[in-house]
Symmetry: C3
Subunit: 337 residues, 3 copies
């Protein structure tokens, strides 16, 4: 939606340095923006691209304004400010209300008139779809699921059963919410399946990435609180509890009944053991393994960065000599007493 | 299905301490069970919740019975006993036989009369669907697949082609079985695809989690034996062989032609290299990397647990000084001879 | 497609030792091939299976020819040679042109007459499907996607939006291309979604595995160049750039804006941090973490292989004493000066 700089500055309460009449029609990176695009400068790494940008305007901090070769919108938090403006300039697609002829909606389902059910989507028995919610092509909303207002369930998402969501949630393609948890009892005849009868309770403003899986609870529900952000390829096992505004990057796996606090940040490929607690405001760095509860806010790690393969192999060999080395040092200490 | 305690005790051969006439209608955790619920106590970690439970009855070991504020069903293996009772109290959904009007079943496919093919499911050429098997909404059973009796292929599962299963298998949503393996030959013009013509042979009582992928064999089949349990987000490459009753937790990746024994347990995020053998009864702990064959039953590991990021960084720095440290100690030893 | 050895030898310019009239009808491994099958010997590990093979013919190197109990096709690169012959003997399924009655194709979409759109597939507004391209059952080609000629989009694949591909690309089941990147700005009210308006640009001859996810760019496009091969369960974040003929094994995760060169090989479960550069011809070994740019071609690693759990735990304990050990050695050195 085209908008001019004066309106943007006023609406988002920014100082504008430049012509308020300039029209903004799209978004652009500093390096590649066209003359009708809004860009932003948040990270110092991109500062060198500012002087040569072709953007119509750049959202940036006061200190950077003098280097802008174009209009500048001043903000203390340029990334968030840009995000808000971007949502006005390039709003999410709007969908016509209605159910596509090829969609299959159970007669016992309750779909808001303003909802959009796309081609070959399926809404099963006793499911509820809220106002303005979009159910994409091939998506399945299983029996008894309750989806709030203004949600987006993208193509080929599966809400298996007993999933309840708040409003404004987004489920990306291929995500699977509410499948059976991995509950097996060992017997002399092999594994015995333990019935998984809990559901998944999801707050409002939650976004869940592609191919991310969130299992239903074994008995009580799996819980994801308001504002949680999960990237792609994440696994949330049965009865996990994730506190408000916690974010997880790709490939994180959380084992059963782990309880994770608010405003935590898990970097990519972190593993979290079952039945542990992580307090609020914990950051875990990439590829680390959390095998015990964390009771102090702060940053945690357990990852070795790469080296060239030959030196790495030497290091691993040295590591295997460490036990003996400790003995050798003790021996020397005795001699030197 | 409601049942009273007397019937439960008799059917599963348990001692009952309490009123056999009490009706059980659902399941509950010790902490949250209602007065019509059956609960269980298996792990000592939950023992403290027993005295205050509101459950109608608890499955537990003799030693714990005196702390139960309600009826008790005595078992040496309370978790397995609970699982069996739970399957009676909350049986899996039963489906009416038939093919939904929106499903597409190829004329050459052979679908048992008692099978249920849900909305927008697809059964392709020459596929066979056994008695009482459920094919969920949006699921695809590809050409030449043979699915046994009493299986559950949940919503949006894909059996790509040439997948054969035994009876009572469960495939959770988003799992993909029988896609091409990753076979590429390097040439001077880049990678050349190697045709993948094998299938996937799956035994009975196998359960495969959401978004788990099992590739077809390059020439011979990929094989998963009876009773195997795979959690979500697992990758099984072409020509892997997994022995009976082996279980793998989330995020395990098994490379091509690995041969894994019976009753193995792989914890979350374990990696298993290609073309290796793992004998029966091996347990691999979380995040470990199996790069060589394992020929002795037992537990294996290679993971570092987290520490606070600052101490971890110091440790990594020390690790990099280890090579030199070994030299320094040798030097000291010379001096101290 | 049956073919005789003489034709194979001529077509692929191989020396044939044996009867050119022998008919080949299928493919087989050395161990299990039948008498109408072509097999190959590329890796020395399988050399011991050659003398007892029942294959009709084996593709192998000159040096191995004398051990073949059957016809031999001589090649310097038997694996690539076999791959080319295999594609003739077992060509990919051919599909009849046409749109299945249950597929939903938007009126604004442009589908080549020679394309095949399978049951319950969905092609959305303004999408373009090239000549001879196959869109499998349940697959969704989202608005504005442009798919080249001779591509295969398998069952339940999702091209979300704004995905452009070259020719001869293969997308395996469950892969999701073009979903929103993980763009979130922290605010005092929690995470704010940053609109993701870029697309995904994919070259020709690219193959993408099951459940692999490739996100659209935040503003500019995510780019995958010609000949790239991605295995299953891989995550490619927004604005990643992958150079020609790079291959990645299962479970690799690449964070946002990483730029990866040509002909790189990433083994399974490698993590690659955001905003870094990896030059051409880099190999990263399994489970390693690339947290900084790599500017020299070569092999890199950071993984510890398993040991039995008891010794591993001892090693971790020793590792934690390393800091102090360094101090103890310094102390000894002072005494021994």
């Amino acid at each position: 939606m085209p908008i001019n700089l004066g309106e943007l500055a006023q609406r988002f309460d920014c100082e504008l340095i430049g012509d308020p009449g300039v029209h903004i029609e799209t978004l652009g990176t500093l390096a590649n923006a066209g003359s009708n695009a809004l860009s932003f400068l948040a990270s110092p790494a991109y500062k060198k691209q500012l002087p040569s940008t072709k953007a119509a305007a750049v959202v940036l901090r006061t200190d950077d304004a003098s280097d802008a070769p174009c209009a500048a919108l001043i903000s203390n938090d340029p990334y968030a400010c840009y995000a808000r403006m971007a949502a006005v300039i390039c709003p999410p697609t709007a969908y016509e209300p209605g159910v596509h002829a090829s969609a299959a909606v159970a007669s016992s389902a309750d779909v808001a008139n303003s909802a959009h059910i796309a081609a070959n989507a399926v809404v099963e028995d006793n499911a509820f779809i809220g106002a303005n919610t979009y159910v994409g092509p091939g998506a399945v909303v299983g029996p008894g699921c309750v989806v709030g207002d203004d949600c987006r369930i993208l193509a080929n998402v599966t809400l298996v059963r007993a999933v309840t969501t708040g409003d404004r949630c987004i489920f990306h393609s291929g995500s699977v919410i509410g499948a059976d948890g991995f509950g097996n009892a060992m017997t002399s005849d092999g594994w015995l399946k333990v019935p998984q009868i809990g559901g998944v309770r999801i707050g409002s403003d939650v976004e869940i990435g592609s191919s991310t899986t969130v299992d239903c609870g074994a008995i009580d529900d799996t819980v994801i609180e308001d504002g949680v952000r999960l990237d792609n390829q994440i696994q949330i096992a049965h009865n996990v509890h994730i506190g408000e505004h916690t974010a997880m990057a790709t490939g994180v796996a959380v084992a059963g009944s782990a309880h994770i606090g608010k405003r935590c940040m898990m970097a990519g490929m972190v593993g979290i053991a079952g039945h542990i607690e992580i307090c609020d405001d914990v950051t875990v760095l990439g590829k680390a393994m959390v095998s015990k509860s964390i009771r102090q806010p702060g940053a945690y790690a357990s990852m070795f960065p790469i080296e060239d393969a030959r030196s790495w192999n030497r290091r691993v060999a040295s590591f295997r000599r460490l036990d003996k080395l400790i003995g050798r040092v003790s021996e020397l200490e005795k001699k030197n007493k």
